[in-house]
Each structure stands twice: as structure tokens, then as C-alpha cells.
């Protein structure tokens, strides 16, 4: 129970000072984590490819590995500190904000009491002086009254005050009740927040386990439950345009921004239009927490159920038991998600190795097929950006392959871009078809996913309007890009279509970019374009209608980039012409591309 005196006399700035202290520590921890991840740890990495021109950049050997492990753990300590102290900062800001509102009400009541000649005593009771019309030659006596919050008690007291001949009695009762109310509100705030702050204690040792991150996730949810008065979850824009998201973000104070990231990282991290650094910080917290939660769930799964097979009877024969299937599916989902999560974390660890730039996690969620948007280099400050949309079978679990392609493209592009900064982005922002035979012919995946790509690109418009942008699709990813251009305005300067089975439109002029800025690559031995034509080819009435056209056709009107690789998947091979051509487009050097003759 908070007392009247405490509420009256407390200096709320002390809570705000505490908030500032935790915020500062959180920022310091974040900077330390970044320093470790982006520069220091890379030095202790063993050479990736012996004989590489870049080799010799790191330490090798078992000693380096041991040092690497210690430093990696240290980085986790800093990340944990960053997130938990962020939550503490948010909590204290919430406490201060809520108590200020109550104090304001109290101060108003106290001012009114004073001007009415009443005295508020230290225990919150209110005394009133003799006042009123004389009765039998005497002024009605003064007295004092306590306040009540219980409605019945209030009613009784009000009645008594009304009946008293001293007119000040009623006013005093009113004041006392208002004071009691304020005290009750403050007590409620105190009771609500105290266990949360208790819960945000630091752990005792340097080991950061899956359980620790799962606990952080739990802490975050616990604080979310009580923080709504300070920062409303509903205020976070949902389903709005990137422009609206950006505007909302800019309307927040620095403290509010920090606290929104601490409290609601999943929501903030997915907002197109917010700065890359903000999304990255939020999504990294989500990644760490989900990893912890999933590892814990995996470790605590029951043993494989028995029997695995049951007689399904009749023609079904032996089938998996339901129990086994559920167990198996859950296990597989957890393992697959963890594989993708680890790939992303490996990418973080590899920053600095062979010049690989900082990674920015612009999107992440592990549910279902998963979402992952990872940028090499900061897209908000880059001069040239490439956004890559993968195709069939793309999912979080195998994100490594797609990231490798963008790493290769980044290296090739940065090597020819001179002083310009390049950022390449792997955009797994949609549910890709998973089966080449059954799913890939369907247009629904592209049509449903296209708006997300448009939103993402428009988000880049908000944070970096002046860059040169290339959108690259591979296989079914090109179909999505075509659908995006068809459904809305594709915000890009150049489009590269790689191994495209068709883009739903029949002409490059429908791709929303200037003529000559649509590029196509179709390597020898890549069978996807021809097979795909029948599902995703576009039509062009100029040719007499009904013909299905794919970007590899001359009629489509794309510029055909030459390739020296074979098959559907080798376009990003290091040192290849295929890769070089993409890099040339990405860096705005269209005169250096080599076209198919």
C-alpha cells in the first residue's frame, strides 16, 4: 500500500533517472555487442577457403577457436544485457509516466483544498474549519474526515457530511475521497509493477543458455501485460502503408522509440518504413528469444512415441500412428526453424570475414515456412541496393543458400562500385511454393506475396529515397515480381529476372521501369523457363493474343544478359560472367554488361 505521504512527497524524477541509467547501460551493451560481432570476433575466425586471395585474414588453430568461443559468449552476455536493461528502462519510464498522471490529479485536489481553506493532514484526512450560518449564536464547528474509495462507505460518509450544518464538511469529504482514490491508484501501479521489476534481475553467471533467452522472452511478455498504459500496443500501426509507419515512428520521442523496441520487438521489427537499424535491433532480440524457446522445447520433447506404425486396416495397410506423426511434425518444425535461425546467426558471426559487411535483419519470424529479410550492409545509407526474391522451395530452414548468393553478389558488386556503397538484400518475405510439381505452377503464391514485396520496396523509399535500386528474382521469385508490377507500382529502377518461368505480364514495359531496365538471364540447361511458360507466361495482344510469353522470348522486350553457367541454380557462382552481369546492373554500370548475341 502506498501511503498518502509517499505519493505526495516522492520525487518522480528518481524513477526517470533510474530509467535513464538502465537505458544507458542497454545502449552501452548494444555497442559492445556490435563491436564484438562486427569486428573483433571476425579476427578469431579460421580461414574459410585456404588458397583464397583473401586468406590469411584471421587467426587459426585450436587456441583461436577457444578464444573465439569465449568472445562469442561475451557477445551473448552483452546482447542479454541490452535486452533486459532495455526492458527495465521501459518499465521505469512506464512507472514514472503512470505515477505522474496520478500525482497530477492529487496536486489538483490539494490546490483546491488549500484555496477552500481546508487542511490536508499527513495521513490524507482532511480537516475543515468552523463555518456556516450561526445556530443558537454559534458558528457550526469544524471537524475532519477521512476519504473512502469503497462506494458504500463513500455513500454513508457523503450523507453524513450533507447533513452537517457546516457547509465545508461536504467539500472536505469530497477532497478526502479524491485523495483516497489517488492513493489507491498509486498503490495499484505499485503492486502491478513491483513483481515485474523483481523479475528483471540479472542472471548469476556468464553462461547464456536457451533457458535464459526463453526467460527473457517471458520477461518481455510479463512487462507487456502491464505496460499498456504507458505504451499502447494498439498504437503500433498494423496493415498501414510504410509512409504511415514512418510517420508514426517519427512522432515518438527517443525514449518511446527505445521502449517500443524493448517491449514489442516482433511488431516493430516487421514494420516497413522504419530505419534498418531499428528493425535489426528488434529482430535480433526476437531471433535470440525464439532460438532459446525452440531449443528448450526441443530438449523437453517426450521420447519418440511407440508404436510408430499402426495397421490402418484394409487397403491402407501400415500407417504412421497419429501420436507419432504429431510428435514427428513438431520435432521437424522445431529442427527446421532452428536450422534457419543458426544460419542467420552464422551470418552475424561472419561479419568482417573477408570483408563481409554488417548484416541487418530487417525481418524475421520462424512460424510456418518462416520469414527472413537479411541485408548485407545498411540499406538506408547504400548508394546501390539489390533486393533478391527467391523461388520455389525457399524457406527459413534453407536460407543459407539464398544468403550465400547475396554474399557473392555483394562481393562482386562492391568490388566494381568504386566509392559507392552497395547493399544486397535476401528477401524471404512470402510463402514460396514448396513443391516443384504441385505448387510451382500455381499463381496464388505470387499473387498473395506480391503486396508484401511492394510494401517492402515502398518502405525503402521512406528510409532511403535517393538510392539506385535493382530487384532480382529467381525462378518463381520472378513471377512474384511480375505480379507485384501488375497489381501495383513496383518501386525499383532495374529488374533482373533469372531463370524465369513467366512473370504474368507479356511485356517488359509492364514492369514499371524505364525501357531498357529489364534484364533477363536464362542459362544453358535451365529448363524452368520453358516448362514454366504454360503456368506463368504472360500474354501480349500485339502478337495476336493467346501466346504465352516469358522473359526469355525476344518479344518480351528484356535485355538478355549472357551467362557462362549451366542449369537453374548456378547464376551466382563466384567469378562467373553470370554473376558479373548482375553486379554490373546492380551498380548502375549497364554499359559494362555483356549481352547474349
Amino acid at each position: 500500500m502506498v501511503s498518502f505521504r509517499s505519493l505526495r512527497d516522492v520525487n518522480l524524477e528518481e524513477f526517470e533517472a533510474a530509467a535513464d541509467g538502465y537505458h544507458l547501460l542497454s545502449s552501452t551493451a548494444r555497442a559492445a555487442k556490435d563491436e564484438l560481432s562486427n569486428s573483433i570476433i571476425a579476427k578469431t575466425m579460421p580461414d574459410p577457403e585456404p588458397g583464397d586471395a583473401d586468406s590469411g585474414q584471421g587467426l587459426v588453430g585450436q587456441a583461436a577457436t577457444a578464444a573465439h568461443e569465449r568472445l562469442s559468449r561475451l557477445s551473448k552476455n552483452f546482447h542479454y544485457t541490452q535486452v533486459e536493461c532495455g526492458l527495465l528502462g521501459a518499465s521505469f519510464n512506464a512507472v514514472a509516466t503512470e505515477l505522474r498522471a496520478v500525482r497530477k490529479k492529487l496536486d489538483t485536489v490539494l490546490a483546491e483544498a488549500e484555496s477552500a481553506g481546508l487542511t490536508v493532514r499527513d495521513d490524507g484526512s482532511v480537516s475543515y474549519p468552523p463555518a456556516g450560518r450561526e445556530i443558537d449564536g454559534k458558528t457550526p464547528e469544524g471537524g475532519f474526515t477521512r476519504g473512502f474509495t469503497d462506494p458504500t462507505a463513500k455513500g454513508v460518509a457523503a450523507q453524513a457530511a450533507y447533513l452537517t450544518p457546516n457547509p465545508k464538511a461536504e467539500l472536505a469529504q469530497q477532497c478526502a475521497d479524491d485523495i483516497a482514490n489517488a492513493v489507491r491508484e498509486a498503490s495499484e501501479i505499485d503492486e502491478r509493477w513491483s513483481p515485474k521489476i523483481e523479475r528483471l534481475k540479472a542472471q548469476k553467471d556468464l553462461a547464456i543458455t536457451a533457458k535464459d533467452w526463453a526467460n527473457v522472452h517471458g520477461d518481455q511478455r510479463a512487462v507487456q501485460k502491464v505496460a499498456d498504459e504507458y505504451l499502447e500496443r494498439e498504437s503500433i500501426p498494423e496493415g498501414k502503408t510504410p509512409g504511415e509507419n514512418a510517420k508514426w515512428w517519427q512522432s515518438l520521442s527517443a525514449q518511446e522509440k527505445a521502449d517500443y523496441v524493448s517491449l514489442y520487438p516482433a511488431s516493430i521489427g516487421s514494420l516497413d518504413g522504419l530505419p534498418a537499424e531499428v528493425r535489426d535491433e528488434a529482430n535480433r532480440a526476437v531471433l535470440a528469444e525464439k532460438k532459446g524457446a525452440y531449443e528448450l522445447q526441443l530438449a523437453s520433447m517426450p521420447p519418440e512415441p511407440w508404436p510408430k506404425y499402426l495397421n490402418g486396416g484394409g487397403r491402407a495397410g501400415m500407417v504412421h500412428s497419429t501420436e507419432w506423426l504429431e510428435w514427428h511434425n513438431r520435432r521437424e518444425q522445431l529442427e527446421n526453424s532452428l536450422m534457419g535461425i543458426r544460419s542467420i546467426q552464422d551470418r552475424f558471426s561472419n561479419t568482417g570475414k573477408n570483408g563481409l559487411p554488417d548484416a541487418y535483419l530487417l525481418g524475421f519470424s520462424p512460424e510456418g515456412n518462416g520469414r527472413a529479410i537479411i541485408a548485407n550492409g545498411n540499406p538506408d545509407t547504400a548508394d546501390h541496393i539489390a533486393v533478391y526474391v527467391p523461388g520455389t522451395t525457399a524457406r527459413l530452414e534453407n536460407i543459407q543458400g539464398d544468403m550465400d548468393r547475396m554474399n557473392a553478389l555483394w562481393r562482386q558488386s562492391q568490388s566494381i562500385s568504386g566509392a559507392d556503397d552497395v547493399s544486397t538484400i535476401t528477401w524471404l518475405g512470402y510463402d514460396a511454393p514448396q513443391d516443384v510439381v504441385t505448387d510451382a505452377p500455381l499463381a496464388s503464391y505470387a499473387n498473395e506475396g506480391a503486396p508484401s514485396l511492394n510494401r517492402f520496396l515502398n518502405g525503402l523509399d521512406e528510409t532511403n529515397g535517393s538510392q539506385h535500386r535493382t530487384t532480382i528474382g529467381h525462378s518463381y521469385g520472378t513471377t512474384l515480381i511480375g505480379s507485384a508490377a501488375r497489381q501495383n507500382e513496383l518501386s525499383t529502377d532495374d529488374v533482373i529476372l533469372v531463370g524465369s518461368p513467366g512473370v504474368q505480364v507479356g511485356s517488359s514495359s509492364e514492369m514499371d521501369v524505364p525501357a531498357g531496365n529489364v534484364w533477363n538471364q536464362d542459362a544453358e540447361g535451365d529448363y524452368v523457363p520453358e516448362i514454366g511458360r504454360w503456368g506463368h507466361g504472360g500474354s501480349s495482344w500485339e502478337i495476336g493474343g493467346g501466346t504465352l510469353i516469358i522473359p526469355s522470348d525476344q518479344e518480351f522486350g528484356a535485355k538478355q544478359l549472357s551467362t557462362d553457367t549451366r542449369g537453374h541454380s548456378d547464376y551466382w557462382n563466384k567469378g562467373s560472367q553470370s554473376l558479373y552481369n548482375q553486379a554490373a546492373v546492380v551498380t548502375g554500370k549497364s554499359r559494362e554488361v555483356i549481352l547474349d548475341q
Partner: protein, 107 residues
């Protein structure tokens, strides 16, 4: 190509800088707690304040632990850079051993 020794030393310098930043962060946290002493109204009058004191203590302790870990690693990285350890195995052993008090089992 940079030599191994100079890489160890550079890493040592960078981790050393981290160590200083961490101590700075801890000192700022401490300063921010000035108005939250045992006799202060936020602590005596609010359970939030009381809870805060034990939470703060736990962070002071934890960040102290992290700071000591930074220092221990700085020292070992320097040693590796100065040829202090006789061989690869000794260097490795140094990094696998945990000296900072109250940390568990080197992991």
C-alpha cells in the same frame, strides 16, 4: 598478410576498450541510482523502489562479472600476442580456463 601475434594484440586492444566502456556503463547506472537509497521515499514508500534495489544489485554484480571477463580476456589475448604461452596447447588452455570469480565451469 598480418602476423598472428599482431592480430592477438589488436584483438586485445579492442577488448580492452570494451572493458572500459562497460565500466563506464556501470558507473552511469550507479549514478542514476543516487536518489534511490535505502531511506529514500521511492524505496520506503513504494514496493517498486524496494524491488528496484535488489534488481539493481543483481545488475551491478552481473555487469561486474562481465567486466572482469573482459579484463581476463584482454590479459590473455595480450599474452598470446606477446608469445607468453609456450605453444598452441597452452594458449588454448588459457582461454578454456575461467578465472573470474563466481562464474561457472568455464562455459
Amino acid at each position: 598478410m598480418r602476423s598472428d601475434q599482431s592480430l592477438w594484440r589488436t584483438t586485445a586492444q579492442e577488448v580492452g576498450a570494451l572493458s572500459r566502456n562497460v565500466r563506464q556503463g556501470l558507473s552511469e547506472l550507479s549514478t542514476a541510482q543516487r536518489g534511490l537509497g535505502a531511506d529514500s521515499i521511492p524505496v520506503t514508500g513504494f514496493s517498486i523502489g524496494a524491488a528496484q534495489r535488489s534488481t539493481y544489485t543483481s545488475w551491478k554484480r552481473y555487469v561486474g562479472l562481465v567486466s572482469r571477463e573482459c579484463e581476463e580476456l584482454t590479459g590473455k589475448l595480450e599474452n598470446a600476442g606477446n608469445g607468453h604461452y609456450a605453444n598452441e596447447q597452452d594458449t588454448r588452455r588459457a582461454f578454456v580456463t575461467q578465472q573470474s570469480a563466481s562464474a561457472q565451469h568455464g562455459n
